[in-house]
């Protein structure tokens, strides 16, 4: 990605971001509150554009295509390839089954058998199958927060994206659910590229391969996670990870 700038109306939220994100790796984004982490990650699947006043400049290339190029790369297409899991679990007010097949359905898969298979595979992928296999047709709102979050992950897996974006996926969860989701992330990276925003530096250290540190809309440092946490090359990164501010 090159020279990414982003404004909310008059105020700039991202400044000249340049970075390369690897495939089948977990990239963690850390930084103090308000530094632009969510904005950045939402830019990657262009969800940020749901705020009407947003303007962007620069380029993000995904597999050789500029994602801002509406003509050649419809935004729906992009989002099919780049899935997203949100901070607060947001299942649809439907049954678990319906939640999972929502994506495949809109992409034109109608065959009942295929859909069943997708549900099973996705729920297994989200480490939820055993817990819910007998209540697939119950409303997803009846699940615990951690389960709901995994339903959302499964929903995302169902359309087999390449990249999964996660914006603080565990911040609304209790420690046990958090552990489950973290575990899951580790498994998922076998098949997917994962970009995860987190407030929790321990979490970043535990699960990511590379880590990016944002501050006031700038990318301060982007490096191998171990390197970044042990020998940060930027003073500000060091201050942050040692708890000097934020």
């Amino acid at each position: 990605m090159k020279n990414l700038n982003l404004w909310y109306g008059e105020s700039q939220a991202l400044y000249d971001i340049n970075m390369d994100i690897g495939e089948k790796e977990v990239t963690a984004i850390i930084g103090p509150s308000g530094c632009g982490k969510s904005t950045f990650i939402k830019t990657l699947n262009r969800m940020v554009e749901m705020v009407p006043v947003v303007r962007t400049s620069g380029e993000i290339d995904y597999r050789g295509k500029n994602i801002f190029d509406d003509k050649n790369y419809p935004v729906e297409d992009l989002r099919t390839k780049v899935g997203m899991v949100f901070q607060n679990p947001n299942p649809f007010p439907k049954s678990i089954y319906e939640n999972i097949v929502y994506g495949p359905r809109i992409h034109g898969i109608k065959d009942k058998k295929t859909l069943d298979a997708i549900v099973e595979k996705s729920l297994k992928g989200a480490a939820l199958w055993d817990e819910v296999k007998d209540r697939l047709h119950e409303n997803a709102f009846g699940l615990s927060g951690g389960q709901q979050q995994r339903v959302c992950i499964a929903r995302c897996l169902a359309i087999e994206p390449d990249v999964i974006l996660m914006d603080e996926p565990t911040s609304a969860l209790d420690p046990i659910s958090t552990a489950k989701v973290e575990e899951l992330v580790q498994e998922l990276k076998e098949n997917y590229s994962i970009i995860i925003v987190t407030h929790n530096m321990q979490q970043a250290a535990r699960i990511s391969d590379n880590t990016a540190f944002f501050l006031n809309g700038e990318l301060v440092e982007f490096a191998n996670t171990n390197t970044l946490f042990s020998t940060p090359s930027d003073k500000r990164t060091e201050d942050y990870i040692t708890g000097r501010f934020g």
Binding site: N45, M47, M50, P52, E76, D77, L78, R79, T80, G83, M84, F86, N88, N90, P91, F92, P93, K94, Y102, G103, R105, I106, H107, F141, C152, R155, C156, I159
Partner: protein, 314 residues
């Protein structure tokens, strides 16, 4: 002089207050009285309902002394001057109008709500919404006049066999009148759906349309259905448009090109100035009014039940 008064004050505000407190009896009396008076005012709205029930029922009972209740509710032929009181002859007219009105109001109302809540930019919303609300403020007599002198001729040029007074034109205009109501209630229900839900769908690559139809609308369904129920209730009770444009021919039919008569239309026809006490026909308007009241009450209760029972929880 002024200095003395000032002095007085300085030592006295507290003292005056102390003083005044002693004769506070009247204040406390008011304090006790006021809630009772206010309660009385609120009871009046209950009395209005009681009044309506009393009025409709007592006169309707007199009517049913003269006309068999079962032939009233099951009869399809309404010709009071020949002693034929089959309410279905009027109910069918009312239903025909209601069906046409809802066929107009539901798609347009919901589509407007979808556009305003899901597609329109703030600017468009700010322009379109108040304009739609103007539509709700136009008196029905104006709509009736418009239906008869504009909509009907336009429709007749499309459907030549349309009779001059017809259910179609009146129904369409009643529908248009209800559009703002359905649009705004539906929009309320839709904007109560949290944005995270929309984002969830869009992040899966869903288009706006898919998000709207598969996520937002289902999630706000109960609010929307409640708005339909209220709309139906309005259509059933609408009077002037049908009295002016739908004709005065009670008829058990579902043919929209025909002249018909609704329950409300009949009441106006009979009551217009010459509702002298006494005759069976005079009492019949109360029997019809009671039927009308029951219909609208049921729709209102359904609307309230739905929106209470299925209030969306996110």
């Amino acid at each position: 002089m002024s200095s003395t008064s000032k002095q007085m004050n300085e030592k006295s505000v507290g003292a005056i207050i102390e003083e005044n407190r002693k004769n506070r009896g009247s204040l406390m009396f008011i304090e006790k009285l006021v809630p009772k008076l206010l309660l009385l005012a609120s009871i009046i709205s209950v009395l209005v309902t009681v009044g309506i029930l009393y009025t409709l029922l007592s006169e309707a009972f007199t009517f049913f002394d003269q006309v068999n209740f079962f032939s009233f509710i099951s009869g399809t032929y309404w010709n009071p001057w020949q002693g034929e009181f089959g309410i279905m002859g009027l109910v069918s007219g009312t239903l025909l109008i209601t069906v046409i009105a809802m066929l107009v109001a539901i798609p347009i109302g919901v589509a407007s709500a979808v556009f305003l809540s899901e597609y329109a930019s703030d600017k468009w919303r700010r322009i379109l919404k108040p304009l739609l609300e103007v539509l709700a403020g136009v008196p029905t007599v104006v709509y009736g006049f418009f239906a008869l002198t504009f909509v009907t001729p336009v429709l007749q040029s499309i459907i030549p066999r349309l009779s001059f007074f017809n259910a179609l034109s009146a129904g369409i205009v009643v529908g248009i009148m209800i559009v703002p109501m359905i649009a705004s209630l539906t929009e309320d229900a839709m904007s109560a759906v949290p944005n995270t839900m929309r984002q969830g769908a869009m992040a899966l690559g869903a288009t706006r349309l898919e998000t709207t139809f598969k996520v937002v609308l289902p999630a706000s369904l109960s609010g929307i259905v409640a708005s339909f129920a209220l709309g139906i209730s309005r259509a059933i009770g609408e009077t002037m448009i049908v009295a002016i444009a739908a004709g005065a021919t009670p008829k058990f039919t579902m043919d929209p090109t025909q002249s018909i008569q609704t329950m409300t239309g009949y009441i106006v026809q009979v009551a217009k100035g010459d509702a002298g006490f006494g005759s069976t026909i005079y009492y019949s308007i109360y029997a019809v009014g009671a039927t009308l009241f029951v219909f609208t009450l049921v729709m209102n209760l359904i609307a309230q039940y739905i929106s209470r029972r299925y209030r969306e929880e996110y």
